[in-house]
Amino acid sequence: MSKRTLAVVGAGMVAHRLVEALVERGATTEWDIEVFGEESRPPYDRVALTSFFTLRDPDELLLGDRGLWRTTGVRLHRSSPVDAIDPAAGTLTTHGRRVRYDAAVLATGSSATVPPVRGADAEGCFVYRTVDDVAELRAWVNERSGRAGGRPARGVVVGGGLLGLEAAGALTQLGAETTVVELSDRLMPLQVDAGGGEALRRLVEELEVRVLTGTASTEVVTGRNGRVKALRTDGPTLDTDVVVFATGVRPRDELARAAGLEVHERGGVLADEACRTSAEGVYVIGEAAHVAGRTWGLVGPGYAMAEVVADRLLGGDARFEGADPSTKLKLLGVDVASFGDAFGRTDGSLEVVYSDPVAGLYKKLVMSDDASELLGGVLIGDASAYTSLRPMVGRPLGVDPTAWLLPDGVEPPGSGDLPDDAVVCSCNNVAAGQIRSAVCDAGCTDLAGVKACSRAGTSCGSCVPLVKRLMDAELEAAGVTIDRGLCEHFSVTRAELYEIVRITGLTRFSEIIGRHGTGHGCDICRPVVASILASLGRGHVLDDENAALQDTNDHVMANLQKDGTYSVVPRIPGGEITPDGLIAIGEVARAFGLYTKITGGQRIDLFGARIEQLPQIWERLVDAGFESGHAYGKALRTVKSCVGSTWCRYGVQDSVGLAIALELRYRGLRSPHKIKLGVSGCARECAEARSKDIGVIASEKGWNLYVGGNGGFTPRHAQLFAEDLTTEELVRTIDRILQYYVRTADRLQRTAPWLEEVGIEHVREVVLEDSLGIGAELDAMMARHVEGYEDEWAATLRDPAKLAVFASYVNAPGTADPDLAYLEERGQRRPAGPVLVAGPSIPVGKP
């Protein structure tokens, strides 16, 4: 049988999911999939559109694995709008070319509606729907800001719903003075009730966004140049440089209408529960569809429809019978969640409300008439309970509902009793049972596996903590002990051991393992205890019994190389070094015959130092003013910087100065893994700060802070943590993040996986809002670190007793290892063996 052709009209998120589902299920053996998209980009994450401002690179928004579009049997036609479809002939037209299909799926989405306001097509009026819309908006606002002669640009958003607040957030991020005009009596009228709208207004106004509710926009006033000058309303007239219309969306059903397909009178292509339209062989999915009695403006239901159609195309009988319209969002930094029957429309339903206008909290649960069953709710200001509450909709809540609402309410019940059919991930419609089955049937034992297998938590990620609890419970029930123990000698985790040592005040390994472990330790637990003791500021790394805990690198404060010699890295804060400093390092290298190489962290590595030479080398380095670079430790390594405003014509802040200050502040800090920082003096990001654990990028107004980046085997980009901080705020925020990381992370867990495990929101709450009440304690620990710092190489050289560890041989302390051998390469020496057995030899020089 020859392959049939499937035409997918539209290349948005839902189309992407359809193709992904088809490819995963092997449909490409039966179908050639031709996808036609009008935008020039492959499908991207429209939900995260506002993050475009912080990403800078629109490609970061692209969905899923790019390899999908290279799959044999799948073709993506970009910039190829479909102009007509002829279901009778089984053809569609794009760029004047007719394409034959056996089945077609309309995934045309929706377009932003512009209300009938006079002048709404003037220059300076925008909608908020695509990457191009956002890019044009940004360019316009930046240009206006430049012309306004110092005053910030002004912007008005018409529409105070979800999209309107997103747009308002975008305008404020661009530095515009922003006003939101909403026709209804409250913000987000479709999601929240009057009380929630009021709380939301207060929170939004605190962010210096002006809110006008109950106000109709009547006319866009233009200047002589035809550009937006003001917006007239039935209230005040608002002077403005830009108007963004975010009053709603309309299903794009024009193609279907023109082709004679049945459409709903208020828009949307009518479809049955299999997402089949009135035309044979034509399906419709996503926001363009009117199915199960309504249109669906969220991505979750769209994904569900995509899965249904994929199943149907492969001969299945899946049905779309509606979906969960719950949402949890962060708008302008404000948590907003709405789920189930948020408006209490069920007969006899009761509402339990907690409202704290001062703290900006509004929480409401809608309960059944006997107050036993949860029907829905609204959470404003703090939506942390959303993940646990939403799957409980339609079920008995178990505890007094107020317990969920009060700030210091009871610990929410666990996930163990969640029924199998309770939907945990609403983006991808994954139920608790599927997560359990990923563990007990598919054999997944970690979060990454469960996510890949069930797809839960792969879109917005808000359900990940719940997914993890379900996974842990299931593993435990299956008899798999989730052994989070450090090693065979300690059954506790690193974080637990840290707490034990912190609270008990123990300082000796033998006591710690004697009381809290077994055996004599190993290469895992010994260095961990050493690191914890160092983090807590309990003495020099070579003191007493604890000298036997350090791996050789920490023991001799240098990095072991393959031939048994070491490399030496003096600290060069921020990568700034004087000519004299360079000469001093060069002279040391020449005197000891060391191989030199520039590191990625903007300093100089000196290789080939024998153990007995280390004190002599450091004597000279310390004399020249250098200190340990801690390249050998699980500790702060470097703070990389660009030259910033010191010299650079683009620099907006003093990145070198800040990098040096940060490096001097955190030098010597011991941690679960190495820590790297970066500081860039402008958005060009020449210091590559977003590939660091802590990245700082200068903005016009201060510093933007990123957390959780790394290079290496699994490169990660750091995530935006906070924006426009003053230097003082920045330092305090980094202090707390680092101390909280040191306290809670697992052994050899870098900040990226740590952040994934505990959640960036959680860290924000702990660090910025002091949700655990440990802020002052974290500050004090960092203050103690800064005060207690001393260069461990200088301290070692001062204490002759410590120099014994550098003896090459106990019976011949200054003798070089007689087996070391070198050969010369490119003017420097390197170990002679073992030699490369086989490998490429690349000729250089003349051809």
């Binding site: 330790g521 019994e545 007689p818």
Partner: protein
């Protein structure tokens, strides 16, 4: 002659649970390097200083510990564990550090090739 006892250092020169290397003479009269370990239990072990997996003379700089009941030293280069009593690598018993006899006479540590 090389299978006789060779004095190395005072016992006090060995830090408990830390290794120390020594230059000695091998069974055929050739130069050899030995790694000495004085454990906190009081036991004394002498094994070859050369890491058989890398060829580098580094074993005395490894961390000591226990794997179950077995006293071990862990190579600082690639973290293979060796039984301090037999010299054998735990994961690959074919590979061994080699062992030396060791004793303390009048506070002096002595080793002898086997």
């Amino acid at each position: 002659m090389s299978t006789t006892w060779q004095p190395v250092c005072p016992l006090d020169a060995l830090v408990p649970d830390r290794g120390a290397a020594a230059l000695v003479t091998g069974p055929g009269g050739e130069p050899a390097q030995v790694a000495l370990f004085r454990l906190s239990s009081g036991d004394l072990h002498a094994v070859g200083h050369r890491d058989p997996f890398s060829g580098a003379n580094v074993i005395a700089r490894g961390l000591v510990g226990s794997a179950g009941e077995v006293p071990v030293v862990i190579s600082p280069l690639h973290k293979q564990a060796f039984d301090l009593r037999s010299g054998a690598a735990l994961d690959d018993p074919e590979v061994s550090l080699g062992t030396w006899d060791v004793r303390v006479v009048d506070g002096q540590v002595e080793v002898r090739a086997r």
